[in-house]
Subunit: 318 residues, 2 copies
């Protein structure tokens, strides 16, 4: 159960002065249409620095490109997904061969959440790369809107450092345990531990949840983080698993399997998660298709963020 560190690149941290300069530069550049040279004069820095400020702004999500239209990628595909799976909403990012899917999905979910969250809302988060990437892009949004985070599963703190979000104090309520522990007894003890219990309960009061959708590929994030071995995944697959949510494996109809491993998990159950009105599942890629299909068939999420090829494949296999 060794827990390797994230294979991602480091976090992006901004101090107050950065934020001020980036915001100012971004305003001049994007809204006023000034050249970087002109901005450099206004800010009293070199032109190249302006270029870097803008770059940093985009990278961190401080500067967000918002497309005021549901047409991101394809309105048609979005509508078809909603109709086909009885969803509340869907986002489909445009196709782009060769580009890594994770950050693209992350941006899309971040944008969806930024629009959907009201000030002081509570956002419940699951486990996975999609969640991690989304949070990174949302980092600048939290301090502004005063949105709090609460985790649906253990193991979240292992990667939340990547996102540039600070500590568990204040606005992040994270379950301070791994996602999976070595024995059912320990898992049970942790679940009834007051603070853990408290966070689990609180998570269910959120109006919005963001969850990753795990595939049962040998390259699954669960494996890469050391939560499962490839052999276990292999075994679960033979028992009918097509994917996982919150560490629980389900079959092609979205029914949670009766697996031993589930008794080792410290997390809200998918069944309890149904109490949350908006559950956003985010995933893309050919290896995720089966997992997404199962999740949607089982109505374990009602909003989907994915990309164009994946959406097409989902609709084909309906």
């Amino acid at each position: 159960m060794s827990q390797v560190s994230a294979p991602q690149d480091g976090g992006f941290l901004l101090d107050a002065e950065d934020v001020e300069q980036i915001s100012r530069a971004a305003w001049y550049y994007y809204n006023d249409g000034l050249t970087q040279n002109h901005i450099a004069d206004l800010l009293g820095v070199s032109r190249i620095k302006v270029s870097r400020l803008l770059e940093k702004g985009r990278q961190t999500g401080l500067v967000e490109l918002r497309i005021n239209s549901p047409h991101e990628g394809s309105l048609r595909l979005q509508e078809e997904l909603v109709a086909a799976f009885g969803l509340t909403d869907a986002r489909v990012v445009p196709a782009a061969e060769g580009l890594p899917a994770a950050p693209r999905i992350g941006r899309a979910s971040a944008s969806l959440l930024t629009q959907g969250l009201a000030p002081n809302d509570l956002l419940a988060i699951g486990w996975g790369e999609a969640v991690s990437t989304t949070l990174r892009y949302m980092a600048p949004v939290f301090p502004q809107t005063n949105v709090s985070l609460v985790s649906l599963t253990g193991g979240v703190s292992a990667y939340i450092g990547n996102t540039g979000l600070y500590g568990p104090q204040g606005f992040a309520h994270l379950i301070p345990t791994p996602l999976r522990v070595s024995s059912p007894e320990l898992a049970e003890m942790l679940r009834v531990e007051p603070y853990v219990r408290h966070v689990l309960d609180m998570a269910l009061t959120a109006k919005t949840a963001l969850i990753g959708i795990g595939s049962v590929a040998r390259s699954a994030t669960l494996v890469r983080y050391g939560y499962c071995t490839a052999a276990e995944i292999e075994l679960f697959t033979r028992q009918g698993a097509v994917g996982d949510v919150l560490g629980y494996f389900y079959d092609r109809d979205g029914q949670i399997l009766d697996l031993d491993v589930h008794r080792h998990v410290v997390a809200v159950t998918p069944e309890d998660m149904r109490q949350i009105p908006s559950v956003i599942g985010a995933a893309a890629g050919p290896e995720k298709v089966e997992a997404i299909l199962g999740l949607l068939r089982g109505r374990l999420a009602n909003i989907l963020v994915t990309d164009e090829p994946t959406a097409k494949e989902l609709l084909r296999r309906i």
Copy 2:
């Protein structure tokens, strides 16, 4: 009381296909960082067309650059304004000598509103250039969020065409009269006319209002649109007027003056407008300083959108 047409440039209309192409191009360009050449290949159009699509997206507000930080311009100035005038919030756009102020203020208010409005909200709007410019940038937002508009004054339909918003059907409830009419009797008859009455009442149920702040310069928008003559403005000034909201002139303490012209106005009164929890006043420029000061002293608005030089001047003259 002749009503000249808007001195603005024409509206920007987008059809569904434009929206699709622009959204896609914008996603590829800003989020994925692809070059325009690459995007041209993906979309099957010429590179230069991609350039124009992106340009159009920014112009129309379909592509909005959102800065996820309250630091637009200067956090310090914003905080000082809030403290000095007991405001709920403030936005200060960065200084930029030589750039026309109107579109910059418009973008800032549009951004503030886009963030603040919930789906299905009702937005009350006053009269003026700042309102008109703001609405232009918000045009793509309305169909998406299902926000409805309601006018606080007559005369709004005269310029709403500029914004790319369609007709009064559906989401815009506009008072179908001029702002000012030729006799007090006619004004009174209009005010009690059922539909007008209905809109006036509805406007007061909005949770958010956006209003312009009129100066008493000879170049005031009221004059340019033919609602007032320069001579009248001159006269009002001698009676203590420093500015107007919704067609009503007030003095340096924000007290509405007892002027004959007010009996010719078809609009909600500033007094009634206090029922609206968030009243956003938007204005900038040296000639507006006195008007803004009066408005804020009289607590006729509790959120201010302005630019950096204006904010500094306001704080100096406090």
